[in-house]
Symmetry: C2
Subunit: 196 residues, 2 copies
């Protein structure tokens, strides 16, 4: 990181600004590269997982969910926060099953994204799933969402025309397009061979 | 929206949890579709703009910036928050010039993204810029970042191999790939003809 020393900010002090039911906010005092001080306020997040579930016919499993902060019904891929101590793959399997009812026999980790690098520690691990078997979904209390299947082509049209604006779902579309084009490759693993 | 009534949550009550130097957090009580109550905590954000600046030779202008919440130097497109009363295009022109020193003679609005629909009102408007002229950048006090040029192909390799994990930049890569493939089209306008 020596080539980046002129960019890096160092921790000096920390104060918890908020310990809410869902959100924790910290304010850190930091030392800037020019030795001045500044403050950084940010959300502490446990991390999350998004799943791109692919059906045997190539269609993808998606959701419609009302997202209160943006006051819209959003088209999204299944996703959810890590429980304490939970691995990303366990979380992916749990969220896929809870939200859609599907289990998957094959999994591949695509990558990771940081949704909001200016004010949250959140990362979202991106997983693809195939070999889907439908069971019964178990939504969290107070969770309401529709599950539906569509084609990758329809998803890309929705990304182009502004129907899809959820960042994680747009990033999943980038992955899906390049995987389906065979430009990017995934390392598929049988679920049974993967340590959760 | 009648087809979505089984998903929509309605405002009941609001409390401000935090009025920080940078972050404002609200907690709303909402009425769920099943008439139960729940709480939603979220950040109030003025919105932001990201710019994809394309040089005459097809290379793109990007930045390296240390992002304290994720403790990493991130590769990103230029972006910034709207000032009070500022239009998205004025913000795009201002941020491009302040952060990189470039002005652009042609602009095209690609679309909009919501980086974190579960706990922020933030949107990011996505603009492409070309016809670039280099002037002198004017970074905000306490802002440190490197500006560099690279090819769209290199950016896509960085997206695939995990070097780029910033969500807005990954979404910009989706746009850039499809615009360069001529799958998606942009409506370019001369800067002088655009009301800021």
């Amino acid at each position: 990181m020596s080539a980046s020393n002129h960019l890096i900010e160092q921790f000096v002090d920390r104060r918890e600004l908020l310990d809410g039911e869902f959100l924790t906010v910290l304010r850190d005092t930091v030392l800037l590269p020019n030795r001045a001080h500044a403050t950084r306020e940010y959300i502490v997040h446990p991390g999350a997982v998004m799943i791109v579930p692919i059906m045997d016919d190539g269609r993808i499993v998606m959701e419609r969910q009302f997202r209160y902060p943006v006051q819209r019904v959003m088209i999204e891929f299944p996703a959810g926060k890590l429980d304490p101590g939970e691995s990303v793959l366990s979380c992916a399997k749990r969220e896929l099953h809870e939200e859609t009812g599907y289990s998957a026999s094959c999994w591949a980790r695509a990558g990771q994204m940081h949704p909001v690098i200016s004010y949250s520690t959140e990362f979202i691990d991106i997983w693809f799933a195939k070999g889907l078997t439908l069971g019964t979904r178990k939504l969290d209390e107070g969770e309401f969402l529709d599950v539906f299947a569509t084609t990758p082509e329809q998803l890309l049209r929705w990304c182009a025309d502004g129907t899809v604006t959820d960042a994680k779902t747009l990033v999943a579309a980038l992955w899906l397009q390049n995987v389906n084009n065979r430009t990017w490759t995934l390392d598929w693993q049988l679920s049974d061979n993967l340590s959760a």
